[in-house]
């Protein structure tokens, strides 16, 4: 079992002495609290686009692959979808270092649970476990927003949970996280419904990530897609969205020439009309 760090047990002693510090003594006792000593190198922002939705064929999860560090693209080929075990996949957003660490901690805890109890922990159990593990760090600069995609325990059917380091734990049918999420949300709201086929779901997820990378500066490069069913997760090949941009650019260029000709003809007519008045 995951035990809280030993320093936390001393916190109650501190708080009882000082009447003003009732519940705020936690940050100073935490092993990783660093707000006073180490200044942040850059303002943290969830510079990413990740999305996941449930449909009749399971859960479809997609994310871009850009890691940004203020204005710099630190890594154009990072992995934001991390498999935790054969039936659970986590999408990460926030600080990539924190996410990678917490994914490993969660994977370790789930494996230990499985070894001790002989069965896997359910997706909702995993979400609750992660949420409780992140709780002591609430108020610090830890920034993890994970979407857990799995299946129902002992039943067939998908499960989707959103867990955040500020304490949110939500179950839902559709989540998108990150700076590019508004752009993705509108596409997903338009097209996602329960009755989608697997191919339709793939194309909607891809389109949503593409549109987010088109408009958002902090999302881009490639798109990763995972499909989770009751048999486990399958991964689609990483696709570079550059090809898609060029295809679209060609199409728009063609439209532009068509339009220029049309407008020139019309404006001539209008000009004549104007001068006739």
């Amino acid at each position: 079992m995951w035990t809280p760090p030993p320093q936390l047990q001393n916190c109650s002693a501190v708080s009882s002495e000082d009447p003003f510090l009732t519940s705020f003594s936690l940050p100073t006792c935490l092993p990783f609290a660093s707000s006073q000593s180490v200044p942040l190198p850059f303002p943290m922002a969830h510079g990413t686009t990740t999305l996941a939705f449930m449909f009749q064929g399971g859960v479809m999860a997609a994310a871009d692959t850009r890691s940004s560090c203020s204005g710099l693209v630190a890594c154009p080929a990072s992995q934001k979808i991390l498999p935790i075990h054969s039936h659970l996949v986590g999408l990460t957003s926030g600080t990539s270092a924190d996410c990678a660490l917490w994914k490993r901690i969660l994977a370790r805890e789930l494996r230990l649970y499985q070894l001790r109890h002989g069965r896997r922990l359910s997706t909702s159990g995993a979400a609750k476990l992660l949420s409780h593990m992140l709780h002591p760090f609430k108020g610090t600069e830890l920034c993890v927003a994970a979407t857990l995609c799995g299946k129902k325990m002992n039943l067939s059917g998908p499960r989707l949970f959103y867990v955040c380091s500020d304490g949110t734990r939500l179950r839902g049918m559709l989540f998108s996280v990150g700076s590019g999420s508004p752009y993705a949300y509108s596409i997903l709201d338009q097209g996602v419904h329960w009755g989608l086929t697997v191919d339709e779901a793939k194309s909607i997820a891809r389109e949503a990530v593409y549109r987010a990378t088109y408009r958002d500066a902090y999302s881009g490069n490639c798109v990763d897609m995972y499909h989770i069913t009751s048999k486990g997760w399958t991964r689609r090949n990483r696709e570079d969205l550059k090809e898609e941009y060029y295809r679209e650019k060609e199409r728009r260029k063609h439209e532009k020439t068509e339009r220029r000709d049309r407008v020139m003809v019309e404006s001539e007519e209008n000009w004549q009309e104007y001068h006739e008045d």
Partner: protein, 306 residues
């Protein structure tokens, strides 16, 4: 007001009854007028080639200028005045407005919710205002500022038309608006307007902002709901859309934005501008659309389950 300006009626400073000089105490600098609109001592002198009638720009004294520092605070507070007037809430462009060009003209659409922090101050506001028969402007930012600047723009365009006998082009209108807004850069004025119109050179869409941006483009969406609208617009916008398709695309984009954004909602207004002028579609309540959409998704689910 327009007639007075054309005739240069206000040659002498006007003293309004509700501003008393006694409240000034002993001001070091005598200022000729107390009228906020015609601050004559800072009037632009450059526009005198306009048949001798200058265009009056409302230029407030900027905080760093000496005249402001020495002048005691009066009831006519200049815009940058955080000492006396507390802002009631943090200003944010709580809206969704969009405009795009296609083969059949320009479409301008907006929601109708005016929000003040967390309160829906008015659920039925007009965010799209016609300036003249071929120009419509969508507003975002502070509602009061936008309404004022729309009126100022209408006045200036009309005056130009009367003086010169022809209408100002959309690009020139945008430039005029941008230079009128420039003195207020750095103050709390917050205006983001999209001019959608048709002039001699065809359909035009220009975004003008109180920060100083002036951008011409094919598709713009402004406000807190704009990312949601952009997702939908980028996906389906084509030059070759028919009028019906373009209208339904604009409607869909505003609907998706109002669905996800808390500060946009209520109804959708739609204007279509062509070479013949603008036409307005009847204001539509998006509540109905939400229920229709929900039903459609439920129906699809049932169909698949069968």
């Amino acid at each position: 007001m327009a007639l007075e300006d054309v005739c240069s009626f206000k040659e002498r400073p006007v003293q309004h009854k509700w501003f008393s000089f006694s409240s000034l105490g002993d001001a070091a600098i005598p200022f000729p007028t107390s009228d906020c609109y015609n601050l004559r001592y800072s009037r632009l002198e450059t526009s005198e080639n306009n048949c001798g009638v200058p265009l009056h720009f409302f230029i407030p004294p900027l905080p760093h200028s000496s005249s402001f520092i020495n002048r005691p605070l009066s009831s006519f507070c200049p815009p940058k005045n955080s000492m006396t007037v507390q802002k009631p809430f943090r200003l944010a462009h709580g809206t969704t407005t969009l405009g795009f060009i296609f083969q059949g003209g320009v479409i301008a659409a907006a929601d109708t919710r005016a929000s003040a922090g967390g309160l829906v101050a008015c659920p039925a506001v007009h965010k799209i205002t016609p300036i003249h028969s071929h120009l419509v402007v969508t507003s975002s930012g502070s509602g009061a500022d936008c309404m004022l600047w729309e009126r100022i723009l209408i006045r200036e365009i009309r005056l130009y038309q009367l003086r010169h006998g022809h209408r100002l082009s959309i690009r020139a209108t945008a430039k005029l608006l941008s230079s009128m807004l420039h003195p207020f850069k750095g103050t709390e004025m917050c205006v983001a307007l999209t001019l959608c119109g048709w002039d001699k050179s065809g359909p035009k869409l220009i975004y003008v902002c109180s920060d100083g941006a002036r951008l011409q483009g094919d598709v713009f969406s402004v406000g807190s709901g704009s990312p949601y609208a952009y997702g939908v617009l980028d996906r389906e916008l084509r030059w070759s859309l028919s009028k019906g398709e373009a209208i339904s695309l604009a409607r869909e984009a505003v609907f998706r934005a109002t669905h996800r954004d808390a500060y946009s909602g209520n109804n959708v207004d739609l204007f279509h501008i062509t070479a013949q002028g603008w036409s307005q579609r009847k204001r539509e309540d998006l509540k109905e659309e939400y229920y229709r959409d929900k039903e459609k998704k439920g129906k699809k689910k049932n169909d698949k389950l069968k």
